[in-house]
Amino acid sequence: MQVPILKQGPYLIATVQSALTDDDLKELRNVLVEKVGHLRSRGVIVDVTALDVIDSFATRTLRDVAHMIRLRGAETVIVGIQPEVAFSMVKLGLTLEGVATSLDLEEGLAYLGRPGKASGREGRGDTG
């Protein structure tokens, strides 16, 4: 599979390395959901630092990932969205509503590890 997925304690970290086709994205989604169930992970970080474009399909798939993973009792954080990509996304009207986002891997882990978190927290950034 193109996207390496590492286990770090109770979390999974998927690091995107290069541009993903639609099929790659779907495969990533399926693999993540399956792994979360299999390994009983508590959180998933998807690192999209390497993506130079996040379009409507990618956004929808990332949202699907977060929703499906939440059904398995785990949380998803998308990290590493580049400033230029974020700019394009909001202009296009894509907001990743309902999905937590953080600046980078470190922040994402801090978010997942924050004490006192309730389940199913809706996307208000990681200081929400």
């Binding site: 541009a19 086709t21 099929d23 474009v53 409507s56 580049q82 230029e84 700019f87 394009s88 296009l92």
Partner: protein, 127 residues
């Protein structure tokens, strides 16, 4: 270049990014152009059997820019103004994303006829 399968979407936007970089667009605008191409290519793949994206460097006398023309021989759009409204969609999801593409680019033009296919022309200029 021809667009038929979803892998072409990635190719189209990478080529678009390269050309835009040659035209001297800023790094933000590179992402903007690539994203717009991605959406246009996606529309072709989703709604038409086959289509084509033509990328061109343009110069209007005072500045340089990139032009993207996306043509397909798909079903066409019967009501263009309606399709240009936010939230409109025939197949669920985010619809054609055309209003978004218009927001991303400096110039936007669409010609479409029901049953005859669609041509979208967009341009982004160097600041």
């Amino acid at each position: 270049m021809p667009v038929g399968a979803d892998v072409d979407i990635v190719t189209a936007r990478q080529k678009g990014r390269e050309l835009a970089a040659q035209c001297g667009l800023s790094s933000t605008d590179l992402a903007v152009v690539a994203t717009a191409i991605s959406e246009l290519a996606r529309n072709i793949v989703r709604y038409a059997v086959r289509g084509e994206i033509v990328l061109r460097a343009v110069d209007n006398g005072t500045k340089r820019g990139i032009e993207v023309v996306a043509t397909d021989d798909g079903p066409g759009i019967s009501d263009v103004p309606l399709a240009m409204q936010d939230g409109y969609s025939t197949s669920g999801g985010l619809g054609l994303g055309l209003p978004g593409v218009r927001r991303l680019m400096d110039e936007f033009d669409i010609v479409s006829r029901f049953g005859k296919g669609t041509t979208v022309t967009v341009r982004k200029w160097r600041r």
